[in-house]
Amino acid sequence: MEAIPDNAITRRRRNELRCALAVLVVLAILPLPISDVYTQNLIILTLFYAGLSQAWNILGGTCGQISLGHAFYFGVGAYTSTMLFTHLGIPPTLGMFAGGAMGGLMALLIGWPCFRLSGHYYVIATFVVGEIGSLLFLNWDWIGGASGLYIPFHGESWINLQFRTAKLPWHYLFLTFAAATWLVAWLIDGSRWGFAWRAVRDDVVAARSLGVSVFRSKMAAAVISGFFTGLGGALYGQFVGYIDPDSMMTGSLSVLISLPAVLGGVGTLWGPVVGAAILIPVRELSSTFLGGSGRGVDLMLYGAMIVLVALARPQGLVSLLALVRGGRNARTA
C-alpha cells in the first residue's frame, strides 16, 4: 500500500471529518439538559431537515440537478414503510430501507425522462411530475386516498420506531439520519463519483470529453438522493404517526427540502446543516407567532429568504466562513 498523498484535498477532507465528529459529539450531548418539549421538537426537526436537505443536496448540489419533486420520493418512502407495517407487519426499522429503495426507484423512473432536459426545463419537469405523483396518491383509495393513513401504535419499541412521549429516541434517530447523510455526502465528495458529478454540474461538454458519462452520473446521483429522501420520509411518518398526500407530498414540502441547502450553500457539505439550523427555528417561531393561519405565510417567508441569500450571498451562508478563512490566508500569504 502506498501512503495517502498529503495535499490540500486530503488535508481538507481530514479537517471536515474532525469537524463533523466534534459537531456530532455536541449534538449528542445537547438534548440531555433540555426538558422543554417545544425546544426538543425544534431540535429534532432541525436535525431531520439537515439530513433531508443533505439528501437533496447530493443531486441538487453536487450534481447540480435542482429538483423540486423530492417531496414525492419522501412520500413514497413513507407510504411504502407504512403499508409494509400495517399490512404485512414488517417493522419500520426494515421498512424504512424498503421506503428508501422505492424513493430511489422513483428517482430513477422520473430521472429517465427528465434528465434529457436541461436547466429550467429540468426544474419545472421535476416539479410537475412530483405534483402529478401526489395527485395519483390523493386518488388512490387502497392507500387511504386524501384521508391518509394512521400508523397503528404497537407499544414503545425501537424495532417499530414507536415512542409514546419520549423525545430522546427521536433525537438520536434523526441525529443518526443527519450524520449518515452527511457521511455519505462526504464519501461521495472524495470519490470518483463526486468528481464526475461536480464536473457534470460545472461543464457537461468538458466532463464528457474526459470520459464522464453525464446521464449515468445524474442517474446515480438521483438514486442515492432519492434513497435517503425516501428513508427520511419513512422515519418522518413514524415520528408523526399519520401520513397523507397533503402533508407528505406537496410542492411546498419539496421547496422546504431544498431550502436549507440553498440557504446554507448548494453543493457544500455544511450548507444543509447550517441552513436547517437557521431555517427550521425561524419557521417554527413564525408559525407560533403568526399562527397556523395558512401555508401561504411560510411560503412567503421562504421566498423572502431565498431572495435575500441570492442577492447577498449566492454561494450560501457557509461561503461566509470561507471568506473569513480566505481573508486570513490572504494575509499570511
Partner: protein
C-alpha cells in the same frame, strides 16, 4: 497497418451550413499534424466529430482501424482521444488539481491513485505550484495549460489541440510550443489547430489546410507555404503568384 487516426470522406452540416465537406486524411502514430485554415473553415467542427461531440452526417472516423464516429464523446475518450477547447473550459468550482483528477479517474478509479496521476501530469505541464488554486483564478495562459493537463490525464493516444497558442504573448507561445514537443516526446500523437502559420509550421511534420469546409491541401510545411491555393485562401487573390 492502418494509420492511428483515419478521417474517411467525412461531411458535416449544421442547418444549411456545410462545416465539413468530404474530408479525408490520416494521422500517423507519433506525428504532429497541423490543421490550418481561416476562421470558419471547419477546424473546430472537425474536432467535434473526431472527439465524438457530434456525429458526422457522412463518412467515418477510425482509431487504429476501429470505427469511433457516432459512438459519442465518452467512448472516444475511453478509446484514447483527448481534446482541448478553443474557448477554454474549466470546472470552476474545483481546484486545478481536482480539474485534472476528473480526467485521471478515467484510468485510475481509486482517489489516491487519481491524485498521484494528476499530480504527475501537473508537474509535466509546469502547473504544480498552481495545484490548489481554484481553476477560475488562473491566468489565460495557465488556463490553456490546464486544458492540456486535463486532456493528458485521460492518458490519450492522440490529443486534439484547438488553438492552444492563440492569444498568447510570444514568450507564452514559446512555452506552449515547448509543452507540445514534450507531449510528442511522450509518444502521444498530436493534431493541432492553429491559424498562425509561423508558430505551427516549425512544429509539424505535415499540415492539412481547410477552407470553406473542404481540404485545400495536405503536405509538408515546405509544400504548404509555397502552395498557391493556400496563399490565395490566406492572403487573398492579389498575393497569389501569377499563373
Amino acid at each position: 497497418m492502418p494509420a492511428l487516426l483515419e478521417i474517411d470522406h467525412l461531411s458535416k452540416a449544421f442547418g444549411g451550413v456545410a462545416a465539413n465537406v468530404d474530408i479525408s486524411f490520416d494521422v500517423e502514430q507519433g506525428e504532429i499534424l497541423g490543421l490550418l485554415g481561416p476562421n470558419g473553415a471547419g477546424k473546430t467542427s472537425l474536432f467535434n466529430s473526431i472527439s465524438g461531440e457530434v456525429t458526422p452526417d457522412e463518412g467515418e472516423i477510425r482509431l487504429d482501424g476501429r470505427r469511433i464516429s457516432g459512438l459519442g464523446p465518452v467512448a472516444c475518450a475511453e478509446a484514447g482521444i483527448a481534446r482541448t477547447f478553443q474557448v477554454v473550459r474549466s470546472f470552476d468550482s474545483m481546484t486545478v488539481l481536482e480539474n485534472v483528477m476528473v480526467g485521471a479517474f478515467s484510468r485510475h478509479p481509486g482517489t489516491h491513485a487519481a491524485m498521484r496521476a494528476a499530480t504527475d501530469v501537473l508537474t509535466f505541464c509546469n502547473l504544480l505550484e498552481r495545484a490548489d488554486r481554484p481553476a477560475h483564478a488562473l491566468s489565460p495562459p495557465e488556463k490553456r495549460r490546464l486544458e492540456v493537463a486535463r486532456a493528458l490525464a485521460i492518458e490519450p493516444r492522440i490529443i486534439l489541440l484547438d488553438e492552444m497558442l492563440t492569444g498568447l504573448t510570444p514568450t507564452e507561445a514559446q512555452e506552449g510550443v515547448a509543452l507540445v514537443r514534450k507531449v510528442q516526446a511522450r509518444g502521444i500523437t498530436i493534431l493541432m489547430v492553429e491559424h498562425v502559420m509561423e508558430v505551427v509550421l516549425p512544429l509539424v511534420s505535415r499540415a492539412v489546410v481547410l477552407d470553406l469546409g473542404k481540404v485545400l491541401t495536405i503536405g509538408t510545411p515546405e509544400e504548404i507555404v509555397h502552395d498557391p491555393e493556400v496563399i490565395r485562401a490566406y492572403l487573398g487573390e492579389k498575393y497569389a503568384p501569377a499563373a
